[in-house]
């Protein structure tokens, strides 16, 4: 694809759509939209626009399509795979002014939102109805970004990923046409599931201008169990037993001994420096799940078991998992973290963990392993020196080896961060011939390739 360089007359036309005060070519604004939270090379857009209505978004995209100018959507900039970096420049649409909670339909357990509202603000507004939107990627992402990247995180084992919690989207297509996909019915078997085609497409098939989300009642019962094990095999046997007993945990996390060590240093938690399972239950009583979970942990040889009943105790125990990234930042000042994100069938979790450990030892790198073990999703934060190109190259090659091994284990190159820029090279290995079907759909829905070019597919 070749794109048209942005000219002054393009800028004049765009000012006609959004007004001069919601268009900027100032370098401060461009630089703010040049990078996300990943290590990918920054690239500023040529212009930033702040649309306020679907009609404006439609007019901008329609104009850009006619002129062959790239359009990249932007939420909070919190993604981890370069997903919103405008690698071909052009127009960046910052959705933060479309941030309204439009309609809380408490009786329907639904809410209509604009894409720029953030997860934490949304959940604040929902709390007064006793409801919440469960997907929790950690960062305070916008809902539009969460839908575009199919975010998930800690609560996915119970509540599903973002894709499982979206009912309906309003989407602006590459030609500017506005369509509605999905519906406000909780079950819908009519026509093709276009909803899930747009969810997770990272703004490459259409731009989300409104979403109807599924809500859940806010839990008011909390319990948690944190247990140390002699090895990763007993960690995973515990995970399998917890799920197999139907205990329905709201989180089922893994922490390796290095992470336990880091948490001890930073927070003085006094953890056994061994692999841990951390789980939470939101059952029908404060103590729900604790006794059963404890006995499963004991049967699998846990060497240390801590339990928590009620919200306050649970919060204390959860210090061991929240803010891992910040803990590692504090322990390694001035260093960067490459976040590995792979997902495998649970039975292969011990193998991918062992593979990572061996690779770290072999390459003399430091990596902290943790993740959403109940889903088979493993992260590893590899500490490295950003100013050392050789070390950065080594870390990238190690990440590639892990991703390829995860695919060999019938897993995926990305459990929750998306394909973005960095996972494109693995798409053919993972998807085989299906990648051609994906590209066919991209070419059909965005024939000029203006929507977030340089993502999902290698150019």
């Amino acid at each position: 694809m070749t794109y048209t360089p942005l000219t002054d007359s393009h800028l004049d036309a765009l000012r006609q759509i959004v007004g001069a005060d919601r268009l900027s070519t100032r370098s401060a604004d461009l630089d703010l939209h040049a990078r996300d939270q990943s290590f990918h090379e920054p690239r500023p857009p040529d212009v930033v626009l702040w649309p306020e209505t679907t009609a404006e978004v439609s007019a901008i995209v329609s104009f850009a399509n006619a002129q062959r100018i790239p359009v990249t959507a932007w939420g909070a900039g919190s993604s981890l795979e370069g997903n919103p970096i405008p690698v071909h420049g052009g127009i960046l649409l910052d959705f933060t002014r479309m941030n309204k909670v439009l309609n809380v339909r408490a009786e329907d357990f639904q809410v209509d939102v604009q894409p720029g509202v953030t997860r934490i603000e949304l959940n604040k507004q929902l709390a007064r109805f006793g409801l919440f939107f469960p997907p929790d990627p950690g960062a305070d992402a916008t809902i539009g970004g969460m839908v575009a990247n199919n975010s998930s995180g800690i609560k996915t084992i119970k509540y599903g990923a973002t894709k499982d919690n979206v009912l309906r989207l309003e989407v602006v297509k590459a030609d500017g046409e506005v369509i509605q996909v999905g519906s406000r019915a909780r079950k819908d078997s009519s026509g093709y599931d276009l909803l899930h085609l747009f969810v997770g497409s990272e703004g490459t098939l259409g731009l989300i201008t409104e979403a109807t989300l599924k809500l859940r009642p806010l839990p008011d019962k909390f319990s948690a169990v944190l247990a140390a094990f002699p090895d990763i095999e007993s960690v995973i046997q515990t995970v399998v037993d917890i799920v197999g007993m139907g205990l329905d945990p709201s989180a089922l996390e893994f922490l390796d001994s290095e992470t336990a060590h880091a948490l001890n240093l930073d927070k003085n938690l006094g953890l056994v420096e061994a692999p841990h399972v951390l789980m939470e239950f939101n059952g029908s009583s404060d103590a729900d799940g604790v006794a059963e979970a404890r006995s499963i942990c004991e049967a699998n040889g846990a060497t240390d078991i801590r339990t928590a009943t009620g919200q306050e105790e649970r919060n204390k125990l959860w210090q061991a998992r929240h803010h891992t990234y910040e803990t590692l930042l504090r322990l390694h000042p001035g260093k960067a973290q490459q976040i590995v994100d792979v997902c495998v069938p649970i039975s292969h979790y011990p193998e991918i963990v062992a593979f990572c450990a061996q690779l770290m030892a072999e390459k003399q790198l430091l990596g902290y392993k943790f993740g959403h073990a109940g889903d088979g999703n493993l992260h590893m934060n590899i500490i490295y020196d950003q100013s050392n190109p050789a070390e950065f190259a080594l870390v990238k090659s190690v990440n590639a080896l892990i991703v390829e091994h995860a695919i060999d284990l019938e897993g995926t190159s990305t459990g929750e961060h998306g394909t973005g820029i960095g996972k494109r090279t693995f798409a053919l290995k993972q998807h085989g011939a299906a990648i051609n079907t994906m590209r066919l759909i991209k070419n059909t829905l965005d024939p000029n390739g203006i929507l977030n070019p340089g993502k999902i597919f290698l150019d």
Copy 2:
């Protein structure tokens, strides 16, 4: 689209692929594949093939595509919207010989199956692992059919529809190419979600030759509550309160007073002839949910409450919901039933129920209303005389009015039976411009329109 009439030389070529013993043009075989469980006009295919391997399916489809011969997939013939009726004739692929459970991965809570295995046979084989595949449409459908139609049913409120319980598919495209979509990872953010594009596409985008399904532990704790209410508003307030309290029922059903009357006649259940809520819980104890559900029912004015603890008592109570269709058949011998299937946001459930009741009174028809109230899914079985064309036309027009009203209430033309033949006329009203995007995708993936023509879209 125009199709090539099947000739003897085509038949010879097909015999080369599957052998003479797995190809039939006998009228008995053609007639067996001419109709599903719906009222739609039967149409026999020109030939029935029984493939046994993906390679055979690929060769057949590739040949049919080159020759412009329609190909329609067939599972158990239990669908309710004409979905597998070969309305343009051609080749019918009967998948019942591809019925193997390939690999139970108990530790991963997954199973790999061929599309022709039926739900009941699969769950029988899974039971020895303490696992099950939750979607339950009532009929003993094949898994391929359930995936193609995105079946759901009674347990959807807790476990989701079929689309929520499929991880990976092997699909034969219209050109015969075999692709893998999704993966065995429980979470996957790589590339586009082609999996959900094929789920529910009713064999119009590709043919499913293998599926990896998500499994759950078999529940061993059961409780149930059946309660009568003075009106539909208190029924729905009860549904909202049950969900809002986080009680996580595994079923949350509605029965109207006519249905209660029918059940009394057929099974002597002694029910109050009033609207009922029937719910089930599979919690952490046999009594889980019962006390809370009872007090919610009482608070909403229930006039009769029956509770059941443990599997045996629960089964007795559930007589009120299972086999409704058969009960109505027995009460109305020789009559046909038109099954309405719409779904609306829960807050609109009272309105759609009242609309149906008023319409039945106005048109002097008899309709039994029941459904998956927790999902907003309403069914009504309208009793009519198949030999009376005027009555049949009236019933069809009444169904259309109900569907249109459901769409006006921000619902869908079909909650679980699919678009098939009968819901095509409502697709434009429901989907608006998005129907063009669906058609664009159909034309891209099946340019010759050979896959199950005459479904999803009006010709």
